[in-house]
Structures are given as C-alpha cells and as structure tokens.
C-alpha cells in the first residue's frame, strides 16, 4: 500500500497545460527522486501536493495512506503529514532554533510562552536527529547547511510522513551534504517517505530507490534507480539522446592573453590572513583554463581580486596581450578586456526587477548606448543578437529578468559580459542550479567562444564540468596551486586528491 498516490493530475494555466496527467507514488521509507528540466512541472506537482493550488484548481486525485485527500490550503496538507522544504529557507533568522521549530505552535499557557518546554522539546527533537545544535542559538548564526537541518527538524516536529526537499544541496558544502544524507537515511529507516527534487544526478543516483522523470508536464517514466544509468536519465529529461553533454574541444591555442604574476589576496576580516598566496598562471587565446578546488580554497577570491572587485587587500601583476595593466576597479578590468560572470546570479549578477535589455547592457552601457545619453533603440539592437545566439527564451528584451527560469537568467548574465567584447572571460560557477538542457547550451557556448579565440578561466564545484570543458586544469588548495594537469592526464581522482591536500 503506497504512502502517497497522486493519480492523473492535470493542472492548467491560461494557455499552458503545466501538468498533463501526472501520476506519482511514494512508499513508506522510500527515497524517490523527481527529476526534470526547469519548467518540466516538478514544482507545480509539489504545489498541488502541498495545497498551494487548492482542490478544484486541478484535476486528479491524491491519496495518503489510501484515504482520498482534498487539500484546500497548506494547513490541510500539513495536517495530512506533508512537509515541503523549499530552496529558499523559510526560517526567521533573528529567532532561535527552538522558536523557529515551534513557530506558530508555541507551547503556551494563557498566551505566555512556556520557554522551558519549548526548548526541552526542541532539544529532544534535535537529539533524535543526532543534530548537534543548541536550540537556543539564533538561526542566523548558523550556516546555510545547518539552517536546512533545522528546517527538517521543524517539519518532523509536525509529524511529517512525507517530506519533500527541493534542491536542498544547492547551497551546501560537501560535508554539510553528507550530514544531510545521513539524516535522510535515518528518516527513511523511520518510515518517512522522501521526495527529492534535484539537478545533481550524482546525488540522485547515490540516494534514490526510485527515480521519476518529468518532461513537459508528463511522467516520462518511473524506474528503480539501480536499473538506470545517468545517460538514460538525461536522455529522458531532455527527450533526446545527448551522448556526451560536453563538447569535444580542439582549440587552437594562441599567444598568452592573460598572465598573472604573484597574486596574493588577503582576508577582508583578518587582513593578515592570505586567502590566495603568491599564485602565478597564464591563459592563452582560445584556451579554457579550469580551476578546481574545494569551497574556501580561494577560487572566487582569485578571480575577484584580478577583476579589481575584492574588498580587502591584494597585490598582483597583470599582463594582458603582452602589456602590463593596472586594474584597481571593475571598470578598469572591463576596459582592459576582462569579463567576469560572477557566481550566484541573483545576488551578484542580475537586477531581477529590471528587464533583460537593462541587465544585458549594464556592463557595456557606454559603448553600447552612448557616453552620456542612452539610446533605447541602439540597446535593443545590441541585445537582439546575443539573445538569439544564446537562445534566451523570452518574447522580447523588455521581459523582466526575475520572471525567467534559472537557465535563461544565467544566459542573460553571460550575454551581459559578452556585450563588453572581452578578451578574457572569467566564469564562476556558470551552471549552478540550472537544468541539463541549459547547461548543455552553455557548455556549447563556452566551447564556441574559445574556438573564436577568447581566453576563458572556468571555476566550478562540479568536477565533471571542469574536466569536460578545460584544456588545462589548475587545482587550488588553501590558496596555492597544488597541481596542474593537461586535459589528457586530468582525472577526477587525481584532481580530487590534489584538492584535498594529498599528492
């Protein structure tokens, strides 16, 4: 008897059928991954399950423990034991862990909160989960990973039987991911059904019992994870056989476009701490240089300091096309021909409430539009070409960026930097949190840009990406170059060993 059964769910929006007869089952103690490209209908299906879309706004049936359910709102679904943990956490940062866990359900007497009981029950709960978190610490002082665990504790305090996790590891470090998986394994053992939405297929294969693939609002297939290969899942997700998702680069390497000598970057908070320590390297025209390294190895800081955007102290010599350049601000860097596709597009890359055109022209506004006066028509004309070549899916350049999918947003950031006509392109986590189809398009674009003679420096936490795209790989460990590999002799094992301090 399945714990949850969703039968023939059809959900329509004006003009689109977002879910087209989706069926989904979840057993007690099962880890069931839900995968699909952005827009495939995963989030819509979960909103139907959680009562965000109430009974009546969709067709189909939902059963929990074989009892038909009609959720009118989120409260109803919670009462039936459904809990969803969203990508954006919904905790109050200023309150303590315990207060967050019991938010809205505080144990109280005559309106006075019984703090002792609240913290006692929180502590018990956290102990059951083997979480070493003091319920009296404020949530804001915890890292993102631990906040996520608090959110899970909160869900369990409401006796959740069905736990949905939407891209839970996007912001987590590797050790935090391990802790999360430990806890999920324990929950499985307790009979909790887990629905896991993720783009990270490694995690999906490692943890799942079954995998369901959605595409264009339809269930493409539900399989036992052990019967399936990664390529088969990708093929089902994108609806075509992708073969190797990485292009096969054969780049013509030219003269060195960028040379960096003696780059040292100091911490903002502790000015004597070196985050990057005396690093020198060069990139040639047409070359993709991958930089691998664990979180905190100094990858992002290295790029930020070269770009002149690091807020702390730094020192380095920069030579571009054989000429030494002084770069003390992002503007200098742009003028020298460096473009920097920053990590975390929502925070550092985009102005979400503005249009595609506004965002794409921002970095190169003066050359594109005019020195002092702006000219909309010229901007539109400038934006049209990269929108087409990057395949940004939007009706017009006047569409607000915040309404685009992650993949399209990422392409807007890339387009913004290509419009500055760079010689050197820095890419920091260029495919974080976007679907496989968009990833593949960005990979192809990187390859094409290198073929056109651009020098590219690529930083990514996804090792296959670094190995698949780079002509050469540098490995950073504690701010120093620990190893260098050519494309031929770089393997995941060797890079990982160097990145963790081995040799």
């Amino acid at each position: 008897m399945p714990l949850l059964e969703m039968r023939n769910i059809v959900k329509e929006f004006p003009g689109v059928r977002a879910l087209d007869g989706v069926s989904f089952t979840l057993e007690n103690g099962e880890f069931h991954a839900l995968v699909g490209e952005n827009g495939a209908g995963k989030s819509t299906l979960m909103k139907v399950l959680s009562g965000v879309y109430p009974e009546g706004s969709f067709d189909g049936e939902i059963f929990v423990d074989n009892v038909p359910q009609s959720f009118r709102n989120v409260r109803d679904s919670e009462a039936a034991g459904v809990a969803i943990i969203y990508q954006e956490l919904s905790l109050v940062k200023e309150l303590t862990v315990g207060e967050n866990i019991f938010l809205g359900r505080e144990p109280s007497r005559f309106g006075v909160i019984d703090s002792a009981k609240l913290y006692h029950r929180s502590a018990t709960l956290l102990r059951e989960l083997h979480l070493d978190i003091d319920p009296r610490t404020t949530v804001g002082s915890l890292g993102i990973g631990r906040q996520q665990l608090v959110e899970i504790a909160k869900a369990l305090s409401q006796d959740a039987k069905i736990l949905v996790l939407d891209e839970p590891t996007a912001a987590l470090t590797e050790s935090e991911v391990e802790t999360l998986f430990d806890i999920l394994t324990k929950l499985k053992a307790r009979g909790v059904g887990l629905i896991y939405i993720s783009h990270k297929l490694d995690e999906v294969f490692r943890m799942s019992d079954r995998i369901t693939v959605l595409r264009d609002g339809k269930t493409i297939g539900t399989h036992l994870a052990k019967d399936l290969t990664r390529d088969e899942v990708i093929a089902e997700m994108v609806g075509r056989d992708v073969g190797d998702i990485f292009p096969k680069p054969e780049h013509e390497l030219g003269i060195p476009a960028l040379e960096i000598k003696n780059l040292t970057v100091f911490s903002v908070d502790r000015p004597d701490k070196r985050i990057v320590d005396d690093v020198s390297f060069s990139v040639r025209r047409g070359e993709v240089l991958g930089i691998a390294g664990l979180m905190g190895s100094g990858r992002t800081e290295l790029m930020t300091a070269i770009f002149g955007a690091w807020q702390g102290k730094y020192s380095r010599i920069i030579i571009i096309d054989g000429k030494e350049r002084t770069i003390s601000s992002p503007l200098d860097a742009i003028d020298s021909g460096i473009a920097f596709v920053t990590e975390d597009r929502k925070r550092y890359g985009l102005i979400l409430e503005q249009t595609i055109a506004d965002n794409m022209t921002l970095a190169g506004l003066k050359p594109i539009s005019g020195r002092f006066l702006t000219d909309r028509s010229r901007e539109m004309a400038a934006v049209r070409e990269p929108m087409r070549s990057l395949n940004i899916k939007a009706g017009t350049p006047m569409v607000i960026t915040g309404t685009l999918s992650g993949g399209n947003q990422q392409k807007v950031v890339l387009g913004k930097w290509l419009l500055t006509k760079p010689k050197v392109l820095f890419l920091d986590e260029p495919t974080r949190g976007i679907d496989v189809g968009a990833k593949q398009e960005i990979y192809a674009e990187i390859d094409k840009l290198a073929a056109e003679g651009l020098a590219i420096v690529l930083v990514s936490s996804e090792l296959p990406e670094v190995l698949g795209l780079s002509d050469r790989v540098l490995v950073l460990y504690r701010g120093r170059i620990a190893a260098e590999f050519t494309r031929e002799n770089a393997t995941a094992e060797k890079v990982m060993t160097a990145a963790t301090g081995g040799n």
């Binding site: 929006f13 689109v16 977002a18 827009g39 209908g41 819509t44 770009f307 955007a309 601000s329 992002p330 503007l331 860097a333 742009i334 920097f340 920053t342 925070r347 550092y348 890359g349 985009l350 102005i351 979400l352 409430e353 503005q354 249009t355 506004d358 921002l362 970095a363 506004l365 003066k366 539009s369 005019g370 020195r371 002092f372 006066l373 702006t374 000219d375 909309r376 028509s377 010229r378 539109m380 004309a381 049209r384 899916k393 939007a394 009706g395 017009t396 006047m398 569409v399 607000i400 309404t403 685009l404 999918s405 913004k416």
Partner: protein
C-alpha cells in the same frame, strides 16, 4: 513553461494609469464638493504654485530613493539655504544673483557633505541625514537668531509670487511642442536605424500627441488666470531635467542599477559611490532652488521654514510608486504624487472655507 512573462512596459504604464485615474477621481470629487470651484483656472494656478516646492524636492528625492538612499534633512536644508539667501540680502545687502548662488551652493555643499559620509564612509543614509535634519535646523535658528528676516527685494519676491506674461506662456508652449516633435523624430530615426523594422506608428503618434495636448492644455489653463506662475515654471523645468536624467542618461540608468542590486552594479563596472555622491549633490541643488521659491513666496525667512518638507517629498515619491528599497520609481510618478498631495490639501481647505461660510450664512 508556466512562467508569466512580465515586461516593464505593462507594469510601469499600468501603475501610471492608475495614478492618473486616482488624481482625476480626486479632482472630480472636489470639483463637485466645492460647487465647481476646484477646477477653475484660478484654483488650478494656486494648486500648481502650492505644489512647486514639494514637487522640486520630490524630483531630487526620487532620484535619491531610486539609488537606494534617503535624505531626511531636506526640510532643514531648505530652511537654512532660504535663511542664507534672506540674510545675505537683508542684513549684508547682497544682490539677487549672489543670493541665488549662495542658496544653491549651500544646498550642493550640504548634499555633497552628507553624500560623502554615506557613500564613502558607509554611514547609513538614515543616520547621516537624521543628524542633518537636527543640525541644519539648529544652524538656521542660530543664523536668524530665532527671528523672521523679511526680504524687501521685489525681483526676489517675484520668484515666488509673480507670473510670466500670457504671450511668454504661448512662446513656451511653442518651444515645448517643437521639443516634443524633435524627440519623437530622434526616437523614430534611431528606431529606423536600429529597430527590428516593426515601427509602431500608433505608439509614435501617441508619443507626440499626448505631450502636445498636455502642453497646450496646461498653458491655456494657466493663461486663464494671470499666466504661468514663475514657481510653477521653475518646478516644470526641474521636473523635465529629472525626467531627462532618469530616462535618457547613463547616470540615470546607473541609479536604477545601484538601487536594484548594488553588488551587481559594482561588479558591472559602475562606481556606486561616485554616483550616489552626485545624486546627493543634485538633490542639494534642487533643495537650494526650492528654498529660494519658498522664501520668495513668503517674503521672509523664518527659523521653522521647511519643517516636515522632507516627509512631503518622500511621501510624494512613495505615492508615485517608488520603492524605498531602491531601484524602482519614476520622476513622473513622484510629480503626480506631489500633485495628489497638494490636491488633497487644496481641496480640503476649499471645503473647510465652504463649510464655515455656509455655517455663517446659516447662523445669519
């Protein structure tokens, strides 16, 4: 795909239409409630004069708010700059040009100073300008010794009290129409050169027709009662500068970017600090201009001149759709906001007069 594509065109014009509809509603109601006094040239001329000081402040404030900052000190700075102007003329015998230079320079200096504290020393704008609110109020009280300083200079008073001749109004109207045609021509030419070949003639025609109708109606109404008041002329000029800066310059675009996402703006090569400094200085200059009008209208500088004006200016921006978080708002919206507030003020006092006179006639 279930994403709803919102374009800026749909959201921002909808907001503008709603504001204009609200304004029209308020006007019609007052016209009805005041027995057809409200919508007469005489009252509209008054209304326009009443809103000009707040309007000028609101234009500068809007640009500052868009960049994600705020200035709570404009009321006090207005008092101080007006005090300096009156003091220099009445006590030291300087002429009108010097007084104008003093008032505007004081505004710019104070704006630059407070802007530097905020932008370069990273002190929150709220704290800096709250300090300014107290400090400059203190300064004007010290300067005037707690007294009201009258200004005798008739040319100075004209800034706040006189109107331009009817003929001059029509000449301005002609210039305005020529300018509207020129901008439309420039836009059409640029559209033809860089557009995708689909020229929207209806939109183009509306882009020409609406401003022209607006200009003619405005001058016609103002000429219906003594001609365009000088403060209104100054306000309209400032507003046009504001519209131009925010919609057609790199500086204006950068303000929206800085307010929308300071990190993204900085990493895109924008010098956030320098732009924020500039907008503080600009608001300072506008405050100086507003101070001249305010002082000239009253005919004297008082220690409490301009008190609470900062709230009027901020409220006008917010009513006009600006977000205090930055990144959103239009000069046009802020002007409509100022006009809505002035309309309520004006309409209410008309109602009060009508009520008390009817009471009087009733008791007789």
């Amino acid at each position: 795909m279930v994403e709803t594509e919102k374009t800026r065109f749909t959201t921002s014009s909808l907001r503008a239409y709603i504001m204009i509809a609200v304004l029209a509603g308020i006007w019609l109601y007052f016209h009805w409630a005041t027995n057809s006094i409200f919508l007469t040239p005489r009252n509209l001329s008054n209304l326009a004069t009443q809103m000009s000081v707040t309007g000028i402040l609101a234009v500068g404030m809007l640009m500052l708010i868009v960049s994600g900052n705020i200035d709570l000190s404009v009321g006090s700075v207005l008092g101080f700059a007006g005090g300096i102007a009156a003091y220099s003329m009445s006590i030291h015998g300087y002429g009108l040009p010097a007084a104008i230079v003093f008032a505007v320079s004081v505004g710019i200096l104070i704006g630059t100073f407070q802007g530097a504290l905020t932008a370069y020393l990273n002190i929150p704008a709220f704290i800096v300008t709250l300090g300014g609110l107290l400090a400059w109020r203190g300064a004007v009280k010290w300067l005037l010794g707690g007294n009201t300083v009258p200004v005798a200079d008739e040319t100075f008073k004209a800034i706040g009290q006189r109107n331009i001749p009817v003929e001059a109004g029509w000449i301005l109207a002609a210039l305005g129409i020529a300018f509207a045609l020129f901008t439309a021509y420039r836009r059409a030419r640029s559209e033809a050169a860089y557009g995708d070949g689909k020229v929207n003639y209806v939109l183009l025609l509306l882009n020409v027709a609406i401003p022209i109708v607006g200009i003619v109606a405005f001058i016609w109404v103002m000429n219906g009662y003594q001609g365009v008041p000088i403060p209104v002329l100054i306000f309209v000029s400032v507003a046009l500068i504001g519209v131009f800066l925010t919609t057609s310059t790199v500086f204006g675009r950068y303000l929206y970017a800085i307010g929308g996402n300071p990190d993204a703006a900085r990493l895109s090569g924008i010098n956030n600090k320098r732009n924020i400094l500039k907008v503080y200085a600009l608001l300072g200059a506008f405050t100086g201009i507003a101070a001249l009008i305010f002082t000239a209208r009253v005919g004297s500088a008082a220690p409490d001149a301009g008190t609470l004006k900062e709230l009027d200016a901020i409220a006008a921006c917010v009513i006009g759709g600006a977000s205090l978080m930055g990144g959103r708002g239009t000069v046009f919206g802020a002007c409509i906001g100022a006009l809505i507030m002035a309309s309520l003020d004006n309409g209410m006092s008309l109602l009060k007069k009508a009520r008390s006179s009817s009471l009087q006639s009733g008791s007789i």
